[in-house]
């Protein structure tokens, strides 16, 4: 009896965040360090936000933050792998990396991440682990504390209400609309991330029992499970933008098409993006967002620390700072980023909660209640297999 | 012994003899080498000057005022050269061209005075700051000769220096050059294919042995 109590107590202790003194050691070590955060640099708004986080880190903790702007997150993954191959086990160039999905799975599998740290961060207790399971399950891959979440992403569709007052709410409705309005819809070319996410959304919506998607691909049932997806795409293809003969490269390219009026329905992995773009004068003020009945795919963005990071303590301080309610509230501000918070608003102090309540969602952002259910990302093997098959079916004009 | 002595000077290329010379040029004397184009005249001059291309091999000796020049770099030979074209340095003024050959130690007013007197000698007073590209053909030829003489050579080589000049200028410049050679008492070799040049030079005339 006593032994059991003791064991339970021990387990609780282990699960507890780092003690105050441990964290003080980290803070002391971090002071004066310069943290190199490798993060995709394709969006000036995100870059400006990271700059602002850097100012906060310097003011509050004496840590300098340098964003290494990547054209592609894989550049940083490849860099860490190259360092491992070259035998550089300390003093690595990457301190912190913005990551999720396949890149995380790859780094985890290669063993190039530092020891688990996320659940020992002081601000971890504010994270909404129960309400937002994606913060500890990255594309069905358990994070095991190897990465710390900092933003929630949800797939939402965007349309210009001036040109298209009523948006379709189901996949069948979307297909009908595409056929009735040829040339006004497209998706980024897989294996692009957003393009593949769209395919997963269609797959999810057309699969009677979506739970199979949470398991790795079973070659025996793959054909049957994906047949409705390819049928849907085949029907849509000739009516897509450019008759499906060309596809945009990525999410920003989609955004540009909507801004130019080339497409009438677009989508983004960020419910607040449209409002933010309207505020920046990059989208017409009549653009609105919508979701499909039954919900849309959502996931979390994380930061991870490579095994050989030169400034590990500083990196942890930044990861913790990213979970700070003031930082999270700023990220959720549509005028700044419009990223949804990873925190549990119920766990916040009234003062911090008020920061979120005070946010103006902007003209285009759906209130959380209207966003509908979040569909979990399928297992990463689905993404890989679907992208591969898409390339086989549509990747070449012949 | 004063003068220029080519002691069995022989230039070969891939084992074949290109030109062979055996002669003595006394101070103030002008020896003329005549022959059609391609007969190795310019190669002979390059061998004397020490600027043969690596493809050529030279044997024999070049002796100037008793000094054996064989193997010495061109700048140490003290042999002046005049070309078919004047080869003035286009980025320097007339004075800059003339000063190029003057000793480094000669500075300031003394240097300017030497240049001025050379200009006067050539009938080009006041031309010091001129751009060489703005001079007439005859003026350029005279600047080229004065530049050569200011370097105080111990011998002169002349590679068809008058062939580009028109008939009227030709006699005038030829007289000017030959006069200076006689005045300074330099041994000189003149390469030409113009019999008139050879006659005016007044010295021995020989075809180079193939």
């Amino acid at each position: 009896m006593f032994a059991r109590l003791f064991a339970t107590a021990l387990a609780c202790l282990a699960a507890l965040p780092a003690t105050a003194s441990d964290w003080d050691t980290v803070l002391a070590e971090a002071r004066g360090q310069t943290v190199y955060w490798h993060a995709w640099g394709g969006d000036p708004k995100i870059n400006a936000f990271i700059d602002w986080v850097g100012d906060q880190a310097l003011d509050r903790h004496g840590v300098r933050l340098e964003q290494v702007k990547l054209a592609d997150t894989t550049d940083a993954v490849a860099r860490v792998l190259a360092e491992k191959q070259a035998g550089r086990t300390t003093g690595g160039a990457v301190d912190l990396i913005w990551i999720n999905g396949e890149n995380f799975a790859a780094m985890k599998a290669q063993g190039v991440l530092s020891a688990p740290f996320a659940e020992r961060l002081p601000n971890w207790r504010l994270v909404d682990v129960v309400g937002k399971p994606a913060v500890i399950t990255d594309f069905t891959e358990p994070t095991e504390g190897l990465e710390s979440p900092w933003a929630m992403a949800r797939l939402v569709f965007e349309h210009d209400s001036a040109r298209l007052p009523d948006s379709p709410r189901t996949l069948a409705g979307l297909l009908d609309w595409i056929k009735a309005n040829p040339g006004r819809f497209t998706y980024p070319q897989p294996p692009d991330y957003l393009g593949t996410t769209f395919l997963k959304q269609v797959l999810h919506g057309l699969t009677p029992d979506p739970s199979v998607l949470q398991e790795p691909v079973d070659p025996a049932s793959y054909e049957a499970v994906t047949a409705p997806l390819w049928a849907w795409l085949d029907e849509a293809a000739p009516n897509l933008w450019r008759e499906g003969r060309a596809f945009p490269r990525n999410e920003p390219a989609m955004a540009q098409l909507l801004a130019d009026g080339e497409v009438a329905i677009s989508f983004a992995f960020n419910p607040g993006r449209a409002s933010a773009a309207i505020a920046a004068g990059e989208l017409p003020a009549t653009v609105r967002t919508f979701v499909l009945d039954g919900g849309t795919i959502g996931n979390a963005s994380f930061v991870a620390i490579p095994f050989n990071a030169a400034h590990e303590a500083g990196a942890k301080v930044i990861a913790n700072l990213l979970l700070d309610p003031t930082v999270q509230a700023r990220a959720q501000d549509p005028a700044v980023l419009g990223f949804q918070t990873v925190l549990d608003l119920g766990a916040l102090s009234p003062e911090d909660r008020a920061r979120f309540d005070a946010l103006d969602l902007g003209p285009a952002t759906l209130p959380p209640a209207d966003l509908g259910p979040t569909l979990l990302e399928p297992h990463a093997s689905w993404m890989e297999r679907i992208a591969e098959d898409w390339v086989r079916r549509y990747g070449s004009a012949e | 012994m004063r003068g220029l002595w080519l002691d069995g000077l022989r230039v070969t290329r891939d084992g074949a003899t290109v030109v062979e010379l055996n002669l003595t040029v006394a101070p103030g004397e002008v020896v003329t080498i005549m022959g059609p184009s391609g007969s190795g005249k310019s190669t002979a001059l390059a061998a004397i000057l020490g600027t043969l291309a690596p493809a050529f091999r030279a044997s024999g000796r070049v002796v100037l005022d008793g000094r054996d020049l064989t193997g010495r770099p061109p700048r140490a030979r003290r042999i002046g050269m005049m070309f078919q074209d004047d080869v003035l340095f286009p980025h320097l003024s007339v004075a800059g061209n003339l000063g190029f050959g003057l000793p480094f130690g000669l500075r300031g007013a003394a240097r300017r005075a030497r240049i001025a007197s050379a200009l006067a000698e050539a009938g080009l007073e006041g031309f010091a700051d001129r751009d060489p590209a703005t001079l007439s053909g005859g003026q350029r030829a005279r600047v080229a000769l004065m530049r050569t003489l200011l370097a105080e050579p111990a011998a002169l080589l002349l590679d068809e220096p008058f062939s580009r000049l028109d008939a009227y200028l030709r006699g005038q410049i030829r007289g000017f050059v030959l006069d200076r050679i006689r005045q300074t008492g330099l041994p000189a070799i003149l390469v030409t294919h113009d019999a008139e040049d050879a006659r005016a030079a007044g010295g021995p005339v020989l075809p180079p042995a193939p």
């Binding site: 995709w40 550049d75 490849a78 190259a82 990747g395 | -």
Partner: protein, 562 residues
């Protein structure tokens, strides 16, 4: 030894070749070895995976076709301009625009053209809705077309200025004006006279730059991504996509594709050489037949003028479009100009611009000066010892221009990491040197070798030593080409993306790494600001390269540019 330091000087060409070829060969080994399964034991799996890719045939055809066609067109336009336009006002205007055109980075030209040509782009906007009736952008495939026409247009626009500059540097050695006078006095038309009398001598001088253009056009990544087809993309664009794929198995497939890409470039060069020989024979026969072709001139002149104006106009309008985007607020279709103007893009970018510009300029100066010093040393050695580089040495010199960057930079990065030489500006400048050196050597060696050797003989006869001939005669007289070579080198350095990113470990940030990172987001506003700055920097270098000698020798008619 005849002069002190002579032994050291003699080694300079070898050292230079080592600087160029060493990193390329080391990187190539490090990158291509995985393609053959070396180090992983995968055998030829990578090639099998490559063969399995359904787009392979089309991608290979695209790479060959876009590379060859754009090179033919760029060369043809360059030659037309040189043959028919000198002496016209259009020609002098073109000369003034040459340096800025050359300096614009490929990605910026591509993005500018994309904005111009897109169905929602400037041309359609200017005509809509009053002339076209379009209130919404038409669904037309003007960009990313399967045949790669948009890509070819972009490549031609970017390579003509480079070929023109190289040709203009070589032209003084061809005695063109006298040859033209002779040909015209024999009754030849301008075009025919130029082709018969000047072209053979000129082409011999610009042959290697043409090869570099061909190799580049076949392997360009940024342009192919923006303007090229997507189903499938060109082979080089696909290699870049595989390299960026998180699935590491794709690295081996990328390596195999890089090996194939290298083979394609070699094959295309062989084909080009063959065509050269055939055309040369044809040209000589036509010349011997006594063809005068005077009637051709008017049409060809019109063609040259039209094409040159189109090229310059398209690039200029595209860049102007980007410039306007950099200050645009909302700018919806079909408005030809933004509804609102705003400086927020510039204000937001301003803090980064100063630091990035300083780093870019520092790297460019360091790499270009080092390249110029090595080039001068090599050429001086060549002159003093009569050492002409053999065909093998010239091939090595061209390695970095002909081997696709994606094929050797990852391996080079691994090598740099292994010896701990990465992540510093010095390491990046050294990597830039690999790419800068060939261009500097190319651009300077022609004028250097054409320098009148009698000047040196005359000076030696006046008692000048070799050092004095170098410092007081050869170098000052070749100041213009030397500074042009320096500016070319700086422009090349400014444009480097992959070497800066890979060797710099992301810590060395330049205008170009920022611009490309931003252009992956397709945001025309911010890309506009960076593209403008990226263009201004090398353009300033060229302006100095042109102005300095002109100022220094303003009273020397013999030093005027030919």
């Amino acid at each position: 030894m005849r002069h002190p330091g002579g032994a050291l000087l003699r080694q300079a060409p070898r050292l230079t070749l080592l600087v160029i070829a060493g990193p390329v060969l080391a990187g190539l080994t490090g990158t291509v070895a995985p393609a053959f399964g070396l180090g992983t034991g995968g055998g030829l799996d990578a090639f099998r995976a490559l063969a399995d890719w359904p787009g392979l045939g089309a991608a290979v055809r695209l790479s060959l076709a876009t590379g060859l066609i754009s090179t033919v067109l760029a060369l043809a336009l360059t030659l037309l301009i040189l043959a028919l336009l000198p002496g016209t006002r259009a020609f002098s205007a073109l000369m003034r625009l040459l340096s800025p055109l050359l300096a614009v980075p490929h990605a910026a030209v591509a993005l500018g053209l994309a904005f111009l040509l897109a169905p929602s782009g400037w041309i359609v906007r200017a005509l809509s809705p009053w002339a076209t009736g379009w209130a919404e952008p038409p669904d037309l495939l003007t960009l990313n077309d399967p045949a790669g026409l948009a890509l070819i247009a972009g490549l031609v626009a970017k390579e003509v200025p480079f070929l023109l500059l190289m040709a203009l540097a070589a032209l003084p050695q061809t005695d063109a004006p006298r040859r033209m006078l002779l040909a015209e006095s024999l009754g030849h038309g301008r075009a025919a006279g130029w082709a018969f009398a000047v072209l053979p001598a000129l082409y011999a001088q610009i042959r290697l730059p043409v090869y570099a253009v061909l190799a580049y056009s076949m392997t360009a990544v940024e342009m192919a991504m923006i303007l090229g087809p997507t189903r499938p993309p060109t082979l080089s664009a696909q290699i870049a996509l595989w390299m960026a794929d998180p699935a590491l198995a794709e690295r081996a497939r990328a390596a195999a594709a890089a090996a194939l890409q290298l083979g394609l470039v070699v094959a295309a060069l062989a084909l080009w050489r063959l065509a050269e020989a055939v055309l040369r024979r044809g040209l000589l026969r036509a010349a011997a037949l006594g063809l005068r072709l005077v009637w051709l001139d008017a049409a060809l002149r019109l063609l040259a003028l039209g094409m040159a104006a189109l090229t310059v106009g398209a690039v200029g309008a595209g860049l102007a479009g980007l410039a306007i985007w950099s200050v645009a607020g909302m700018w919806a279709f079909p408005a030809a100009l933004p509804e609102t103007l705003s400086l927020r893009t510039w204000v937001a970018a301003a803090p980064d611009l100063v630091a990035d510009t300083a780093m870019t300029l520092g790297l460019a100066l360091a790499a270009a000066l080092a390249a110029l010093a090595l080039t001068l040393t090599c050429l001086e050695t060549e002159t003093r010892h009569g050492l002409r580089p053999g065909a093998g040495a010239m091939a090595l010199l061209y390695l970095p221009l002909i081997v696709p960057q994606v094929a050797f930079l990852p391996g080079l990065q691994a090598a740099a990491l292994a010896v701990g030489l990465d992540g510093t500006p010095l390491a990046v400048a050294t990597a830039h040197l690999v790419f800068v050196l060939p261009y500097v050597f190319l651009s300077l060696s022609g004028p250097w070798r054409a320098w009148d050797g009698r000047i040196a003989t005359a000076a030696a006869a006046l008692g000048a030593g070799e050092a004095r001939i170098f410092w007081q005669l050869r170098l000052p007289m070749l100041l213009a080409p030397a500074l042009t070579a320096l500016a070319v080198g700086m422009a090349v350095s400014v444009g480097q993306y992959l070497p800066t990113l890979l060797i710099g470990g992301g810590r060395v940030v330049t205008l170009t790494t920022e611009a490309v990172a931003l252009s992956s987001g397709g945001n025309r506003r911010i890309v506009g600001t960076y593209a403008l700055l990226q263009m201004l920097l090398p353009a300033a270098c060229f302006a100095v390269a042109l102005a300095a000698p002109a100022l220094a020798f303003r009273n020397r008619r013999g030093m005027a540019p030919a």
